[in-house]
């Protein structure tokens, strides 16, 4: 039951609500955010648009089967690497995620702001754990069952058979030299090896976005932990961390990344993520340290200390939420630069050779003088990078109290 005091709670606008309002006023950044969401949707739902497996298939024996669904997670013959599996997992779980999110939002409406925030936090944690556990389980198992070539059956026009395919009946590694059947359309043509360029670009979204998000999460986490420890405790801890930051700053980042890549026998995408993550942490660490130095002597922290709260609680629940603004800006720009670094690495030939990375597609177009392919791949990188940069600028301006409208 909503009383007047509840209403007062509802009308109180939190800091992040104000920031959100400011952000929405900047049209270009706001649309860049939607573009990013769109890119994520493309990455997650890529198999819906293109897959070599039919949604529904009735063979000559008359039994119905659903090869597309089982190919997403339960058959490594189609999607082999972790990036694809992760996005497929999100694809499978996305309806449940949506329903659960809507339910929680309805419930949170009638709650106090702080309770609602806690509920959202728990909800987020719950789903994170579920996804993580499922992903680890998937990576540990490796189910493989032989797949019939549905496409060829369908192309042969079996009378007794029935198949419902995705709009594009192509997997990104399929080399279809001269194979043209009903439903096989190469939207942007094929590359020299006979692979479909459009489908590879589509799945390349997965590579770029996962590199950007995971590498940045790694270094933001390291940066937050080290920066907050240094800023909060000061003294010797601070000196050690600052020295460490100084040392890492002395190495040109791209050289260092290339050096680490040089140590690897077979650079996989996971290693690229880890390496970028291990090298980029100095930026957020400096930001967080600065914010902590500013905030640790402010009254609310003194009050928290006087209440006898533990250091961990003060750091993570009282100071850190106030220090997150600059980190968020840094992270958004960081995703853009991580996408750029990954595509540069794959352009130079240091990327994961099994993945359809945009940089690789560009390099392939360059080596085969396929200008159309080059242009499209470069444009995809440009759009993604500028969307993140634009969103980052929007967040930065929205966080700046001097620029409030």
């Amino acid at each position: 039951m909503a009383t007047s005091s509840d209403k007062a709670y509802r009308e109180y606008a939190s800091y992040w609500a104000i920031v959100w309002e400011q952000f929405r006023k900047q049209r270009s950044s706001y649309w860049a955010m939607w573009l990013i969401f769109g890119l994520f949707a493309l990455a997650i739902y890529a198999p819906v648009f293109s897959s070599s497996q039919p949604f529904v298939w009735r063979g000559s024996d008359g039994g119905l089967s659903f090869p597309w669904f089982s190919s997403l997670l339960f058959n490594r013959n189609v999607f082999e690497n972790g990036v694809d599996l992760f996005f497929n997992l999100l694809l499978v779980l996305s309806p449940a995620l949506l329903v659960s999110f809507l339910l929680i939002r309805t419930r949170a409406r009638s709650m106090k702001v702080s309770d609602a925030a806690r509920l959202h936090r728990q909800h987020l944690l719950f789903w994170n754990l579920i996804i993580l556990a499922a992903f680890i389980g998937l990576m540990l198992t490796e189910p493989r069952t032989a797949l019939p070539e549905y496409r060829e059956f369908a192309a042969a026009g079996l009378e007794s058979g029935f198949a419902l395919f995705p709009p594009l009946r192509i997997h990104y590694e399929d080399t279809l030299h001269g194979v043209t059947g009903p439903g096989i359309v190469h939207v942007l043509g094929q590359d020299n090896a006979g692979r479909d360029i459009f489908v590879r670009l589509l799945y390349g979204t997965r590579v770029s976005l996962s590199i950007g998000v995971i590498a940045v999460s790694i270094y933001i986490t390291i940066g937050i932990v080290l920066g907050s420890i240094a800023g909060y405790f000061g003294g010797r801890t601070d000196i050690v961390v600052v020295r460490l930051i100084e040392i890492f700053l002395c190495f040109p980042a791209f050289f260092l990344i290339l050096t680490f890549i040089g140590f690897l026998d077979q650079p996989s995408i996971a290693w690229v993520m880890v390496i970028i993550g291990l090298i980029g942490w100095t930026g957020p660490a400096r930001l967080v340290r600065g914010e902590f130095l500013r905030l640790r002597n402010i009254d609310f922290v003194a009050a928290a200390r006087a209440l006898g709260l533990s250091n961990t609680r003060i750091i993570f629940r009282h100071i850190l939420p106030n220090a997150m603004g600059p980190v968020l800006v840094n992270a958004t720009f960081g995703v853009a630069s991580a996408v750029l670094i990954e595509s540069t690495l794959s352009f130079l030939g240091f990327g994961d050779p099994t993945l359809p990375s945009w940089g690789r597609i560009l390099a392939f177009g360059r080596s085969t003088s396929d200008t159309q392919m080059m242009l499209i791949a470069g444009f995809a990188i440009f759009v993604t990078v500028s969307a993140f940069n634009m969103a980052g600028e929007g967040i930065r301006d929205a966080l700046d109290p001097k620029l409030r409208k």
Binding site: R243, E246, I247, L249, C250, F251, P252, F254, F255, L256, L258, T259, I261, G262, F263, L264, D265, A336, L340, S343, T344, F347, L348, F350, G359, L362, R366, S369, T371, M374, L375, G378, I381, F382, V385, S386, N389, M390, E393
Partner: protein, 605 residues
């Protein structure tokens, strides 16, 4: 001010030490032995081809990879340590030697033969006991003695063949120990003598004689040997032969001396003379081996050669206590690394077979040309743009410039470079009939790649200069546009901060013209941040741009870095990394100092 600079300089020392330490850790953590892939052999073939093996050994020696990492305790190694590893390798030797084959041909195992030898006292007592007319007391005493002697069983199975990894590890270890085990190897190679029928005066004379009769063999065949060691019988079967063979072979490698002049160095006259002597000694030493199954006489000859060598060389292997202690700390990779760094010696490049500094020296000028041109261009363009955007803040011009710079900033440089190389060179694929094709093809006159295309030696400086500049147009543009966006932004915000300040209002109030207000009063202070940025570009100057140099095939530092990574040329990688980190340190210092020099408001006290 001087105090501040001194303080900063002193702070640089620990930072630099930590950086070098980090690089050292990185070299030694690098998975797989550095350069293994690139050194003529691969790790798989390393134990097959002798030449490849030797190349790999020299490589390790040159890069100090044969030394222990932090502490060197090799002076503690004794014969047993060496023996253990030699035996592991010997078990893997497939060649059978004649005696072995014969002994097994009669249907007895080597173990059985050895058991007979070892248990000969037991068997002798048993033969006595077999006499039916024996006195009971005597019989009891004999039985007691027989119990005391005991019957020893010898495992008839051959010892299992060691795993490939263990063999490789043992070989590697024996190789890495190098000079430290030369006396031990010499001792092993001469310590096991054959038991001949005439010169056997050991208690096993009878045993060996009986063995020979039973088998119908000449005991002088190399079917095995027996040696008394303290309280235990140590039985050497054919394995011993192989161990001795390996010991001599190892000796002929480990006793070689390090050459004084490395690849790509010249050295003085004296050094060269000494080097020649060492090389000739190494060559002689490498001949002194025998092959499995060579006659004992030949083996004795070679051992005699070694004895002769040892008389001269043993003085080199004698160490005082202090020297031993020193070697614990100084004869390590860690110490060698620092010693090399102190001489600015980053080792030798595997790819070029020359010192790293020399290789870097050949490449860095290209990067400097490129970077200096691009930097000058960037400053010349971005400062006016920044000023314009700041003066006309929030106008159409400001927004337009902002958007254009934003787009430039988000364009991947490898994409732009690839496009420029495709469309702005004579081989442009654009249709020459369309309007856009005509316009772009008009500019498609630039060379595709390279630093210059001057083939002839006799060109004038002017020709060389123009040719190089012509080649640099596209790379410099591609390198410039990205820093343009960053620099203009700095210039704009720097000027905006100043324009709002009071003294500018005062200048305007005095009635100065807008031009003078901006150019004379505002710009001088507003450009301080962008000026201090110059210091931090120092490493970029040398480091160059990896992508641009890769695409336009300019042999600068970026190309060197990429090539070294493909070749696993760790010394070059580490050299570049160390050099650029030093430059960054200096650059940060310079930019701080210049900040203080330009802006008197800043004090560091």
């Amino acid at each position: 001010m001087t105090q501040y600079i001194l303080k900063r300089l002193l702070l640089m020392v620990p930072t630099f030490l930590l950086i070098t330490l980090l690089v050292f850790v990185m070299i030694n953590l690098a998975p797989g032995t550095a350069g293994q892939a690139a050194s003529a052999s691969g790790s798989e073939q390393a134990d097959q081809s002798a030449a490849a093996r030797e190349g790999y050994r020299l490589f390790k020696e040159q890069y100090n990879l044969d030394l222990p990492i932090i502490l060197n305790f090799r002076f503690l190694l004794d014969e047993d340590n060496v023996m253990r590893h030699l035996e592991v390798v010997a078990r893997n030797l497939s060649g059978t030697i004649p005696g072995e084959r014969e002994a097994f041909a009669v249907g007895r195992t080597a173990a059985g033969v050895v058991a007979d030898i070892v248990n000969e006292p037991f068997h002798a007592l048993a033969r006595e006991l077999a006499d039916p007319d024996l006195d009971p007391d005597e019989r009891a005493a004999l039985q007691r003695r027989q119990q005391e002697v005991g019957f020893r069983t010898i495992d008839p199975r051959r010892p299992p063949r060691p795993a490939q990894g263990a063999i490789f590890d043992s070989e590697e270890r024996l190789e890495d120990w190098g000079h430290a085990i030369v006396p031990e190897l010499l001792a092993i190679s001469r310590s096991y003598v054959w038991i001949y029928r005439d010169d056997v005066d050991s208690p096993w004379l009878d045993g060996v004689g009986i063995l020979a009769e039973t088998l119908g063999l000449d005991p002088s065949t190399r079917s095995g040997s027996v040696e008394w060691r303290g309280e235990n019988w140590r039985v050497h079967t054919t394995l011993t032969d192989k161990v001795r063979f390996l010991a001599v072979q190892r000796l002929s490698v480990n006793a070689r001396r390090r050459v004084l002049i490395r690849d790509g160095e010249r050295g003085t006259e004296e050094q060269r003379a000494a080097n020649r002597m060492i090389v000739s000694e190494n060559n002689r030493i490498s001949q002194w081996t025998w092959s499995l199954g060579d006659s004992p006489e030949r083996q004795q000859e070679i051992l005699a050669e070694w004895e002769g060598w040892w008389e001269e060389a043993s003085i080199r292997y004698e160490r005082t206590g202090l020297q031993t202690l020193g070697s614990v700390f100084l004869d390590t990779r860690f110490a060698a690394y620092w010693a090399n760094l102190a001489r600015l010696d980053f080792g030798t490049s595997i790819r070029y077979r020359r010192p790293v500094m020399q290789v870097i020296g050949e490449h860095w000028m290209y990067s400097v040309y490129l970077s200096v041109m691009s930097l000058l261009l960037a400053y010349f363009i971005s400062v006016p743009i920044g000023i314009l955007a700041a003066v006309k803040q929030n106008t159409f011009a400001d927004r337009g410039v902002g958007i254009a710079l934003f787009v430039l900033y988000s364009l991947p440089s490898f994409f732009v470079a690839t496009l420029a190389q495709t469309y702005l060179t004579p081989a442009s694929p654009l249709d020459a009939d369309s309007f856009i094709g005509k316009v772009i093809n008009f500019f498609a006159v630039f060379p595709v790649s390279g630093f210059n295309s001057v083939e002839a030696i006799e060109v004038t400086t002017w020709e060389l200069l123009t040719n190089t500049l012509w080649h640099m147009v596209l790379p410099v543009i591609c390198l410039t546009y990205m820093s343009l966006a960053v620099l203009s932004r700095y210039a704009r915000t720097g000027l905006l901060d100043v324009i709002r300040s009071d003294y500018i209002r005062t200048a305007r109030a005095k009635g100065l013209s807008e031009w003078v207000v901006i150019m004379k009063h505002a710009v001088r202070n507003g450009m301080i941040p962008i000026l201090t940025l110059l210091g931090t570009t120092l490493p970029v100057l040398i480091g160059g741009s990896i992508v641009i140099e890769y695409i336009f095939v300019i042999e600068g530092m970026g190309s060197l870095m990429i090539g070294s990574i493909f070749f696993r040329d760790y010394n070059v990688i580490m050299g570049i990394l160390l050099l650029s980190s030093i430059l960054t340190l200096v650059g940060i210092l310079l930019s701080d100092i210049s900040y203080a020099l330009v802006d008197p408001r800043i004090s560091f006290d």
